[in-house]
């Protein structure tokens, strides 16, 4: 798993490259927090175009980050989910707190 960040105008783009499961969850959590806590961006977009795998462990990671950023009033958006990730997002209602947007990091 690689967590890549890029700031553009008032947006922080974060790309998750690899597989997000129980094994990589802790690493992902720490690196997302590091990128998000430092940011002065008005909004965050988490791009999943290069996320080759995600299970419901990923939902826990994302909701945890949402709670932290909510305190700072910085909204988080999701872009380019896989078919399976999209189904998990829909069944958990994740899009109601992290809406899906077009576009990504590249």
């Amino acid at each position: 798993m690689q967590v890549k960040t890029r700031a553009h105008k008032n947006t922080l783009f974060i790309s998750l490259d690899g597989e997000l499961d129980e094994f990589t969850a802790e690493y992902t959590r720490i690196n997302l927090d590091q990128a998000m806590i430092q940011t002065r961006a008005a909004q965050i977009v988490i791009d999943l175009a290069n996320l080759r795998f995600m299970d419901s462990t990923g939902i826990g990671v994302l909701i945890g980050r949402y709670k932290k950023m909510k305190d700072k009033n910085i909204p988080i958006y999701i872009s380019n989910p896989s078919t399976q990730a999209e189904r998990i997002f829909k069944m958990t209602g994740l899009y109601s707190i992290m809406p899906k947007v077009q576009g990504g990091v590249s």
Partner: protein
Amino acid sequence: MKTVINTIKLQIDAKSCNESFARTAVASFAAQLDPTIDEINDLKTAVSEAVTNCIVHSNSKTVLIEASLWRNDREEAVTKKPTKILTEKYQCGIAIAITDFGTGIANIEKALEPFYTTKPDQERSGMGFTVMQSFMDSLKVTHAKPSGTIVQMTKTFNNCAGA
């Protein structure tokens, strides 16, 4: 009638570093039935959920993964649907049992409820079984003997012409 055409039995240490291996191994095994990419990804997700449960919750040292591939008999395809025989494709699929030998689940019915988690402080979604149910055709959770949990899942693949 369903005929089992191939089986595997895989025992792994209950370590999260084995999760990727476990789901990829089952997916590779199923690949010989030529499922679609989406079917393979559904399978990987469901296996990952079941193995995660064993690793995070069961306190078991090992996880046993058994899988069998099946297809229906030619005779059945011919006799039961004679009018469709020219377009009828063989049905085939996979049955998986994932067993741990840990503490077991006290209340299985409760564990199957969406968003139910015994570890709410650990950023867990409580959606593992719901994902398995949604991505597979069937899910059955039972107690293992003398202790532990067995998760059984099946999935039928849509296009099995090559099987």
